[in-house]
Structure formats: C-alpha cells, structure tokens
C-alpha cells in the first residue's frame, strides 16, 4: 500500500485523492455480511410467525392505516376508515402487510445491528432510523392514495415499483448516513487536518 512520502503515513481512505487497489474482503466485512444475512433472515422469519403477526404486525398495520387516514383527513380528503381500509368517494385502499414499512425496518435494523459500532450508537441509529422510515412510509401511503384518487392509471406502477424503491432506498441510505456519520467517526488526526 503506498504511503504518504512526506509523513510516511498510510493513505487515509477518506482522502479524496486515495485510489485503492481492489483487495479481497476484509474479515470485518465478512463478519458484517454474514451477520447482516443472518439477522435479515431471522428478522423476516420472526415477522412471519403467526403469533408475532397476530400480536404485533396486524395491530401495527392497523395503526399505520389509522394514522394515514388521519393525515388524509387533515389535508382535506373526504375519507372514512373501515378497519384497515381507507375509503373515499374517489378511491379506496386496504393497508396490508407489506404496506407498513416493516420490511425496510428489518433491512435497516439488520444492517445497523451487524455493523461494528458501539451499542449506544446502534440504539441511537435504530430509534432515529426506524422513526424516519415510518415517516417516509406514511408519506408513501398518503401519496399512493392521492395517486389512486387523482391519477389512477399511475397507481399500479407507483405501488409496485416507484414507492417501494423509494422507501427501501431511503432505508439503505439512512443506514449509510448513520454508518459514515455516527458509527464510524473520523479519526482524530484526520479531523484535525481538515480544520
């Protein structure tokens, strides 16, 4: 690995001028990947258990539906709630499992828990990230309802492609932001050099 000729220090990976040769996966990378896959599989298997579905997923989905209905009411939509259904004279939508943002939450939480960071930092990331994902998911449900009501021909692609991509992308980007800003703090030497 080339060293800085002036200071004889190893190159800093955050240095914009640093171009690294491709190297095999590092041990910590492998540990992260294995832990991520195991947590992901475990998390989704847990969510698919009948007891968890009955006790947590179904009530949570109903809560998402209720809050979404309230938000639509606030922005002037004439909606009524029937269980997990949001109904208006123009359009009706049933909030089901898969519309509650829990998939993205599991992906995000698995990545955070698998990442080598302090537990307090992980806890901070989990709380902030899950809250942010749920806010984004509420925006998604409201936007999808409005799309169905006013642009019905776009509803299908918005539902299955556009908003799913956006919510998952936000979850992944939130993880990357957390990991690079909070979980992996800048080395003090480098931080000083930047000031």
């Amino acid at each position: 690995m080339p060293r800085n000729p002036r200071t004889n220090e190893p190159p800093d990976p955050r240095d914009p001028g640093t171009v690294r040769a491709r190297k095999p996966l590092d041990r910590r990378q492998v540990v992260f990947l294995v832990a991520f896959v195991v947590l992901l599989g475990g998390g989704f298997t847990l969510l698919s258990l009948n007891a968890v579905d009955r006790v947590f997923v179904v009530p949570f989905t109903a809560l998402v539906a209720k809050v979404s209905g309230w938000l639509l009411d606030v922005i002037g939509q004439d909606v009524t709630m029937r269980g997990t259904q949001i109904v208006s004279p123009r359009f009706a939508v049933d909030i089901k499992n898969g519309c509650n943002g829990l998939e993205t939450v599991v992906v995000f939480a698995s990545a955070v828990l698998a990442f080598p960071a302090a537990w307090r930092t992980k806890l901070f990331g989990l709380v902030g990230g899950i809250a942010a994902i749920q806010v984004i998911n509420l925006v998604r449900v409201v936007a999808l309802f409005l799309t169905g009501a006013y642009f019905p021909s776009f509803f299908d692609s918005s539902h299955t492609v556009v908003w799913q991509s956006i919510v998952v992308a936000c979850g992944v980007l939130l993880f990357l932001v957390w990991a690079s800003r909070w979980a992996a703090p800048r080395p003090p030497q480098h931080a000083e050099a930047q000031t």
């Binding site: 690995m1 060293r3 190893p10 190159p11 800093d12 990976p13 955050r14 914009p16 001028g17 640093t18 171009v19 690294r20 491709r22 996966l25 590092d26 910590r28 990378q29 992260f32 990947l33 991520f36 896959v37 992901l40 599989g41 998390g43 989704f44 298997t45 698919s48 898969g98 998939e103 993205t104 599991v106 992906v107 698995s110 990545a111 990442f115 080598p116 299955t160 492609v161 799913q164 991509s165 998952v168 992308a169 979850g171 992944v172 980007l173 993880f175 990357l176 932001v177 990991a179 690079s180 800003r181 979980a183 992996a184 800048r186 080395p187 003090p188 030497q189 480098h190 000083e192």
Partner: protein, 210 residues
C-alpha cells in the same frame, strides 16, 4: 466517505439508471421468464411448465398436465418486473461512489448485475415452485410433502421481500463497505488493532505536531 457527494451522485445516477432500466425491462423480462422456465424444468421430468407473456410485466404460468383442470388454462401469473426494479437503486449506489474511477465502478456494477440476475432467476424459481407446492389445493398436497411445502414456502418468503430489498446493500457492502470502516485500511498498514489505533491517534493529537 464524502457523504454528501455520495448522496448527490446517487441521486444523479438514478436518472440514467431509471431510463436504462425502462429501456431494457421488456427484454430482461423475457430473458428472466425463459431462464426461470428452464430452471423450473430442471426440477421436472418430463417438462411441464411454460411461461407465456401476458403483457410487458406479467407472465402466465402454464402446466401442460393441468391444462383442463383450471378455468383460465393457466395455473397462476407472476409479475416479473417486481423482481428487478431494485436494479435502478443498485446501479445508482454503485455508480455514485465518490473518488473511484468510473471504469472500476462499472466493473463492480457489472459483477453486482450478474449476481442480481442469478438472484432474480432463483427468486422466480422459488415463486413458481411455491405456487406448485402450496397454492394448487389437492394437487399440491398430492405432489408435495410437508418438507417440500415448507422449503419452497420459506425460500419464497425470504427471497421475495427481505433479500430482494436488501440485495443492493449486500452487494454494495461486498465492494465498498471499507469506505465506512476507515480503521480497516489504517490497521492493515500499521498492524495495530483498530481500537489501539484510535487511542494512538487520540494521543498524537494531544502532542505538539511537527
């Protein structure tokens, strides 16, 4: 990693990635359907399964030994596009990585796309076998035991949502996770443990610099 540049680059690369994805989707759907059909036929003897295009995104699943037993002629349908729209995000985060030559980013993306293609075929295989194993009533019960039903069911459940959504991050982590772990490179060079390295670095900031 320069985070703001990465986020900006990712957003900008999402535009050409979306256009390219829209352009290749019809062809890629046909390729995936054909590959999944072949993969399913590997599990059959003789071959029974055929996937026929219904529209740009959907394919109908036919089994020649069940032709007369369904009112519609086909067993079920599958929306192939749903399996690969995350390619847009994969391309955007691979191409958005700052301070890496474009050629290397494209090379990494090529590997990621190849792995993704195999993943899409596998996910479609599990989806179709899940339908056979659990969704065809007495025919399913007759041809698949409890283990088969659980195997194809769990596989489909895991590949359909969690790994489909997590695949871009998993692949990105294989190539670029060390951007988030600066200690890796530094400790490699110095032989020091990351925690020791941080302590040393902290000490050095307290001492006068040259």
């Amino acid at each position: 990693m320069p985070l703001l540049r990465f986020l900006r680059n990712t957003l900008l690369w999402a535009i050409p990635a979306t256009l390219l994805w829209l352009a290749i989707t019809p062809t890629y759907n046909r390729f995936l359907a054909r590959a999944a059909e072949n993969a399913v036929q590997l599990t059959e003897s003789p071959n029974h399964t055929t996937l026929k295009r219904y529209d740009q995104h959907n394919f109908l699943i036919y089994r020649d030994d069940l032709q007369g037993q369904t009112s519609t002629g086909h067993v079920s349908s599958v929306r192939v596009t749903s399996y690969h729209f995350m390619l847009i995000f994969t391309a955007a985060i691979f191409l958005g990585v700052p301070d890496t030559p474009l050629r290397r980013r494209l090379e990494s993306l090529g590997w990621a796309a190849l792995v993704s293609a195999f993943f899409h075929i596998g996910a479609l295989l599990f989806r179709i076998k899940f339908i056979y194993a659990t969704q065809l009533g007495s025919w399913s019960a007759e041809h698949y035991g409890a283990f088969g039903q659980n195997f194809w069911g769990l596989g489909r459940h895991l590949l359909d949502l969690p790994f489909r959504f997590a695949l871009p991050l998993l692949l990105w982590s294989c190539f670029y996770l060390d951007r988030l772990l600066p200690d890796l490179v530094r400790s490699e060079a110095t032989g020091a443990l990351p925690r020791t390295k941080r302590r040393l670095a902290k000490d050095s900031t307290n001492s006068p610099r040259d």
